[in-house]
Symmetry: C2
Amino acid sequence: MQTKHLVFISAFILLFSSILAAQSSVVQKYDSVAVHIAKEALGSNNSYTMLEDLCTKVGNRISGSPQAAKAVQWAMKRMQDLGFENVHLEPVMVPHWVRGPVEEAYLLLPSGQREKLKITTLGGSIATPAEGITAEIVEVKSFDELRALGDKAKGKIVFFNRPMDRTQFQTFAAYGGAVDQRSIGAIMTAKAGGVAALVRSMTTRIDDSPHTGGMAYDDSVKKVPSAAISTRGAEYLSQLLAQGKTVRIQLKLSAQTLPDVESANVVGELRGTEKPNEVIVMGGHLDSWDIGAGAHDDGAGCIQSIEALRILKKLGLKPKRTIRAVMFMNEENGLRGGIGYAAKDRPGEEHIAAIESDEGGFSPRGFAINDTVTYTKVAPWAPLLHSFGADRITLGGGAADISPLAQKGVPMIALSVDVHRYFDMHHSENDNLSAVNERELALGAAAMAILTYVMAQEGL
Amino acid sequence: MQTKHLVFISAFILLFSSILAAQSSVVQKYDSVAVHIAKEALGSNNSYTMLEDLCTKVGNRISGSPQAAKAVQWAMKRMQDLGFENVHLEPVMVPHWVRGPVEEAYLLLPSGQREKLKITTLGGSIATPAEGITAEIVEVKSFDELRALGDKAKGKIVFFNRPMDRTQFQTFAAYGGAVDQRSIGAIMTAKAGGVAALVRSMTTRIDDSPHTGGMAYDDSVKKVPSAAISTRGAEYLSQLLAQGKTVRIQLKLSAQTLPDVESANVVGELRGTEKPNEVIVMGGHLDSWDIGAGAHDDGAGCIQSIEALRILKKLGLKPKRTIRAVMFMNEENGLRGGIGYAAKDRPGEEHIAAIESDEGGFSPRGFAINDTVTYTKVAPWAPLLHSFGADRITLGGGAADISPLAQKGVPMIALSVDVHRYFDMHHSENDNLSAVNERELALGAAAMAILTYVMAQEGL
């Protein structure tokens, strides 16, 4: 009995020791490489210089726009100039929604005067008639509240005013808890007989910048126009309503959806020296919304993917497996790039992992991995990311563009960053270069370079 | 032999288990309290509201200034209004340096025209003569280089241009590697026979904002005026010199040091219910430099200390030991508040720990603890800070105001934050409210509230 126990305990200790040994051997093997990578990222400041170039020469770049076409050329040329291999475009058809010249909302005062509200058209919305829609607003915090209104919503502009829950520790969780108002507010409005949807902007900050974002229609009901109002504007309207006032608004939007346009994912690689057909995809999305500069969302992720490869090449690190940078097109309003990439037939190739940076160019915290096997393999590498605080490897999570690959069984990994500031800028005019810190951006690139390189050498 | 092994292994497992159990019991005990604290910090947004009040009603507040006096009253009233106990001032004499109305530097071009440079007087500097100092500049990257110049520095303005090393992972390490130029550049200049010191600003960013900061004189040599130039200006001067040009500058500064002024540390408490004489000090410094608003440095730390107590009180948490918030005066150019606090006789009291937040109001990462015993006790509490990513407890480090307490043997703990952005703002006009994110600031306060509360209950 004692002997049996002893054998069991010894076996356990042996197993545990061997896991630790395996871990420490990988960490020891790449420890100095990781430091060199991070120092090159910080020292060169190339991420920021590249992002500055994208933001100033191209600017924002919504799918189907001339700027998006320019961004595709920009990314391809960047990767060619850096000497990446197999640089090419993979065409995809993308939606082509345009905001048009008019987006206005006025609060109509009893005096007959008008007060301008800070709004932005939601991506995908139809236009109002040229003379606008003039109607009373009705405030709701949930779809249940809207349904409970019954006939009272008929002919009204439905004002969705449930704030993002600022007590959430993860801003993405707060976003997830409020974004249904933006996504399907227009559908719910139409079902309730409303004439337009006005949605509180998706940010925890109270300010004057409206935040755009994607919204959907449902063919079974009428399409109604949909716009976001700044959080300060939303608070103001809500106060007026709380005082028992009737609040009438005139809304004019000129948006329209044009026929689909050909665009492309932009691809470049460092080919694997030993197992080139085992591919690690690393990317971000090249499209953005059409306000601000798309600096954090997701200029940052694209630049970091290019920069990660640049650093490996610069340091003479030759990956055994192929590392492929992909700038996906159309994450914001269609995911056509992500879907197209995953659907494409690639004979002989096996994707061993897909990694995306799409939470902004903030201080990296680690990686979120969707499957247990990959997590178990990668988590022990965390000490390689410890020196700059990016060593939190967590199980669960993902990113939009690589989710179609994940559906095909490819392990999905998202760069985790410090996201507290993200929704101050997300989808708004604030998402500019000045909101990006060069060190934080660079270290995100470093984290991606380290992870993909170790993965390329060690396999999964 | 086998039995002996078994006993040893069992003992080891027992010991290990008991450590884990002790850890998990503290964590279990306070887990839900920690969540409540963090949610109150985020949900109320009180940190930001308070900081906004300080930045807009008081503004920057250099020691000895009317604004510093106003800040003292502001902090005292805040703590009184919140119902803290034993709110009082502890007077200290502080230096009174004033910038005066003039600080100008012009590059004198061969054409006879002048080009304005972005400079700021360093704190403590003397003035130039009213007509300014006009001299050729000589660039050095180190004191060794300066010494090697011999007579060539005589009559010159010495231009210290060693950048902060941007490849450092910790910005404070990069600062530490460059700040000697600012601190003792004027002394070294005088020793070399130079007439003034012009120092590259302490930031890794290349921009137009000069950064001030403390500098010292040495009675054994002449006092020469000293100013900081923006990093972009420094790069420009360096380029001109690299082209072999003679660079002449006219420097006019009007600064002076007036007689010491009475000021005060501001103190408020939650008295311990069981061991009131065991005191945990938690603080920041109330003074700032006289440009910008001192939002991060160190409005943030003061506000977080008040907010931490407010949250505990709001949630009805009664600490067994006393938690004392101290807004120290004069960290920036004298440390008189920190020294005075530690020197004061406090019969019957024992300080069990001193905690400071003085790295800016950024996303909290954890705590840095200077002594092993405290570290060993506190490190297992880290899971309480995990939910918002502040669970990195490290050994080593500290903060200026509480360092005199540490010299008397009080364990010293610094709030660690994500400091990549800090030196973009530090001691410059950029250190304004707009550079502070409300969630990051609030979570710093939450981390301090959690740590001090658990410490007050569990002891050290």
